[in-house]
């Protein structure tokens, strides 16, 4: 018999609990069904969320000789996995992530000594050269970290979540959660507040292999397309330097980070090649004002051309080839679902030329 310190017992409020619980469950079922119907009426459809767990699942599919796509959302939207498999003989693993820099993923793949496969790396200069601590770096690092630290419980939740996301349109985390809905409230900010721009609204669907497809509503001219364009313009406009570091010191720090990205990338490329791996850089299409903005803020000569020169990696710049330049991105940054298939079909011969045979690497773009 234990001699207890206290014989504590909680009070249970006296209520008709069974009836209350049934009312709660029924109301929630009806409210969820109504919310789902409303979301569908707004053109939302079931789609997987691009979570760290989905990325980690894809990362686990990487075999030593895999074909892997890394980089940003342009690689995610514009690469058709079926066409790449047909053209290159291997089903690629899609590891590109929206708004992220490829570097941490490259580093993770190449520092995995078993890996000696092939990498297609998308380069959007503002993202590829993003300095440590910036949101594009953080996003990549977070996913890489998740793939290394994911617990069994997280894996199980991910699998369960997928079954719900496949059926319910209202499970779209980027747009339809309470937090996302609150962000959309039209409340003006203080004029001097440094509030970061919001990410664009829902404009894509994603499958289990992380193949993203632009939704038709965004591919057609209209309000959604305009809103997405507007967000790109804000997101790709360089923010003012922070107030707490002198301008010169900040510029020096950014320059050092920029230079370091060339040398660090070269070191990774050399390591991959020493093991027999291959890599190609790809500049995917962009259009309209965003192209003008990117060309102005991140000129080709100082970013793309130099990257190819320093690393001696073959590169495919869409503008260098008429058949690749012949596409218009409806919302300036990504191809429509249909165009992405055609674009990939046309990209394949260039990729095959870049990878060469027997491990040869032939620059196919006009390297400086």
């Amino acid at each position: 018999m234990h001699l207890s310190i206290s014989n504590f017992e909680r009070v249970i409020p006296t209520k008709p609990w069974r009836g209350i619980t049934v009312s709660v469950v029924m109301t929630l079922v009806v409210a969820t069904a109504a919310w789902e119907l409303y979301c569908r009426s707004l053109a939302y459809g079931p789609s997987l969320n691009d979570t760290g767990d989905l990325w980690a699942e894809a990362r686990r599919r990487v075999e030593p000789e895999s074909l892997v796509i890394v980089g940003d959302s342009r690689a995610l939207f514009d690469s058709d996995l079926d066409e790449l498999e047909k053209g290159l003989g291997k089903r690629p693993v899609q590891l590109a992530q929206p708004g992220s820099t490829a570097f941490p993923v490259l580093s993770d793949l190449i520092n995995d000594t078993r890996f000696h496969g092939t990498i297609i790396c998308s380069v959007v200069p503002r993202l590829f050269f993003a300095p440590p601590g910036s949101p594009p770096m953080n996003r990549s690092e977070k996913s890489v970290r998740r793939s290394h630290t994911q617990t069994y419980a997280q894996r199980a939740s991910h699998v369960l979540g997928i079954y719900l996301e496949k059926w319910f349109a209202c499970m779209k985390q980027d747009d339809l959660t309470l937090g996302a809905l609150l962000e959309k409230l039209p409340i003006p900010n203080r004029p001097y507040a440094q509030v970061p721009p919001l990410l664009p609204p829902y404009f894509a669907s994603l499958d289990r292999e992380r193949r993203a497809r632009m939704v038709e509503q965004c591919a057609q001219p209209g309000k959604l397309q305009d809103r997405v364009k507007h967000r790109w313009a804000r997101l790709f406009t360089p923010p003012p330097p922070p107030s707490f570091i002198p301008k010169d010191a900040f510029a020096e720090k950014m320059h050092a980070a920029f230079e370091a990205r060339f040398t660090d990338t070269k070191a990774l490329v050399d390591k991959l090649r020493a093991r027999g791996g291959k890599i190609v850089f790809v500049r995917f299409p962009l259009s309209g004002d965003l192209k003008e903005l990117e060309d102005r803020t991140t000129p080709r000569a100082t970013t793309w051309d130099r990257l190819l020169k320093e690393t001696a990696v073959p590169g495919i710049y869409f503008e260098d080839f008429p058949e690749l330049a012949d596409f218009t991105c409806p919302e300036w940054s990504h191809l429509s679902a249909g165009d992405s298939v055609e674009f990939t079909k046309r990209l394949v011969p260039h990729l095959r030329a870049a990878f060469g045979s027997e491990g040869d690497v032939k620059p196919v773009a006009s390297s400086p």
Binding site: M1, H2, L3, S4, I5, S6, N7, F8, E9, R10, V11, I12, P13, T14, K15, P16, W17, R18, G19, I20, T21, S23, V24, T27, L28, A31, T32, W35, T151, Y152, A153, Q154, A156, S157, L160, G161, L164, M171, Q173, T177, L178, G179, L181, L182, E183, L185, I187, P188, N189, R190, Y192, A193, Q194, V195, P242, S243, F244, I245
Partner: protein, 473 residues
């Protein structure tokens, strides 16, 4: 496994169904042991072995201690139990911290020493289960608990999954008696448990994670100086976040335990309606503050040796309390700051004596507001990654950077303001009562409406799976 995850929903449904379908009480307890180890092992299976090892050690030490009649002999076994438990905690939680400080001390003496960095994973919830387990040998030593004869019961008392990783710190003496016989049927217990779980998840997922965490993270991660509004908003966001996060976990634990027929004590009692700091600690993380009171403050003398000695004892206890939260000097400063508050309050009471005018509501509200502000100042050290950030935050809060930056959107400031105001209203309305009494007074339609609102909001957030803050402790 997190309470706010789909895995837990399935796990809990399976465990609860199987538990209530079983007729044999020993079989039910076996089920709970297995479930608790699955719950814990889902993070990192090898750490389940560590949990079992320390639990088994305390079980056998408790048994040996129970057989000793001489106080000296009992003391030896207690010292072994305390030393092994705290060494384990010290190794995993404070190993690198101690090495870094050792290096710093040597460097002051001109000795350059580069310690190896111990690449340690902190076993989740180690601070909590170490205290669960320690309470057993401490109470046997104190003569208030007889050793249990069942290893299975003790393993379950330490590892019972609702309270395993983030409390409340349930003492063996409070839990073991509940394992002697199956819970008696109690009208509404299961559904009330479900409602408490909903409330806990609402606090965690909706209030802490969705409405407050982002602002607190933004402000504390910023490298520059902030204007007073943003500094205060960030600190108030964290004050709310940590309350809703931790109290939410505790309420979930209490609710989950009730669904299985077990009764856990309150861990929070409307702390932001506290008037004074001793009142605050009677309302905040009650299971830790009573643990430290009973097993540390009173044994080292408490207030039995005069006011001066009592203040020193308070500082010692709060130093340990700070360090328990994390291996960093910022946590120590947080603890010492609270120790100073308590000492100052005690000194004021000695000088002023009992003043009846402090019982008037406006005065109480004013004193409560002062308590909240002082608690917020202490939270700065708790949340800041280092003293530079803490100093910059405090300077911003007290008008040191009128030309500083503004980071938060108007929406975020409104969210913080509305949630904080709502929190104050609820805490002050219920400060002298309990949630059960409040629900008893509510009409059925209001209880139903509140439950629907909370569950609906959780569904709308899609229950994102951020870890609870206190898991890291």
């Amino acid at each position: 496994m997190l309470f706010n995850s789909l895995t837990f929903v399935v796990f809990f449904a399976v465990v609860v169904s199987a538990y209530w379908m079983m007729r044999s009480w020993p079989a039910r307890k076996n089920l709970l042991v297995v479930a608790s180890y699955v719950f814990y092992g889902a993070w990192n299976p090898p750490f389940a072995a560590l949990l079992f090892g320390t639990t088994a050690m305390d079980f056998y030490l408790g048994r040996i201690m129970g057989k000793q009649t001489q106080p000296e002999a009992r003391k030896v076994w207690l010292v072994i139990s305390v030393a092994v438990n705290l060494s384990m905690l010290g190794f995993f939680k404070y190993g690198n911290f101690l090495l870094e400080n050792f290096q710093w001390v040597l460097a002051r003496g001109g000795i350059a020493y580069q310690p190896p960095h111990l690449d340690l994973f902190l076993p989740i919830g180690i601070s909590f289960y170490t205290f669960h387990s320690l309470s057993y040998t401490l109470d046997i030593y104190r003569g208030v608990l007889k050793p249990t004869r069942s290893l299975r019961d003790f393993v379950l008392a330490v590892s019972f999954f609702p309270q395993l990783v983030a409390g409340p710190i349930v003492r063996a003496g409070d839990f073991l008696p509940q394992l002697e016989a199956p819970p008696k049927p109690q009208q509404g217990r299961f559904f009330w448990g479900l409602l408490l779980m909903t409330l806990g998840l609402f606090e965690k997922v909706v209030l802490a994670d969705t409405l407050l965490a982002g602002s607190a993270d933004t402000v504390f991660a910023y490298g520059g100086s902030l204007v007073a509004l943003d500094s205060w908003a960030g600190v108030m966001a964290f004050a709310g976040q940590i309350f809703f996060d931790f109290a939410g976990y505790s309420i979930c634990a209490i609710g989950a335990a009730l669904c299985l027929g077990f009764h856990l004590k309150d861990n929070f009692r409307f702390p932001y309606a506290a008037v004074g700091f001793s009142d605050f600690w009677r309302r905040w993380h009650i299971s830790l503050s009573t643990f430290l009171r009973d097993y540390l403050y009173i044994p080292i003398g408490g207030n039995r040796a005069g006011a001066a000695r009592a203040m020193i004892n308070l500082m010692i206890v709060m130093f340990i309390g700070g360090l328990w939260h994390g291996a960093a000097w910022t946590f120590v400063v947080w603890g010492l700051l609270h120790g100073s508050y308590l000492a100052l309050e005690r000194l004021t009471k000695v000088i002023v004596g009992e003043a009846s005018w402090t019982e008037h509501l406006p005065v109480k509200l004013l004193l409560g507001l002062g308590t909240y502000v002082a608690v917020c100042v202490a939270w700065v050290f708790f949340r800041a990654p280092d003293f530079t950030v803490a100093a910059r935050m405090l300077s911003g809060m007290f008008g040191g950077h009128p030309q500083g930056d503004a980071l938060l959107s108007t929406r975020e400031i409104l969210q913080i303001g509305i949630v904080t105001l709502g929190m104050f209203i609820v805490h002050w309305s219920l400060r002298d009562t309990s949630i059960e009494s409040a629900v008893n007074r509510m009409p059925v339609w209001a209880v139903t409406g509140v439950w629907i609102f909370m569950a609906g909001a959780i569904l709308l957030t899609q229950g994102n799976s951020n870890a609870f803050i206190y898991f890291q402790f």
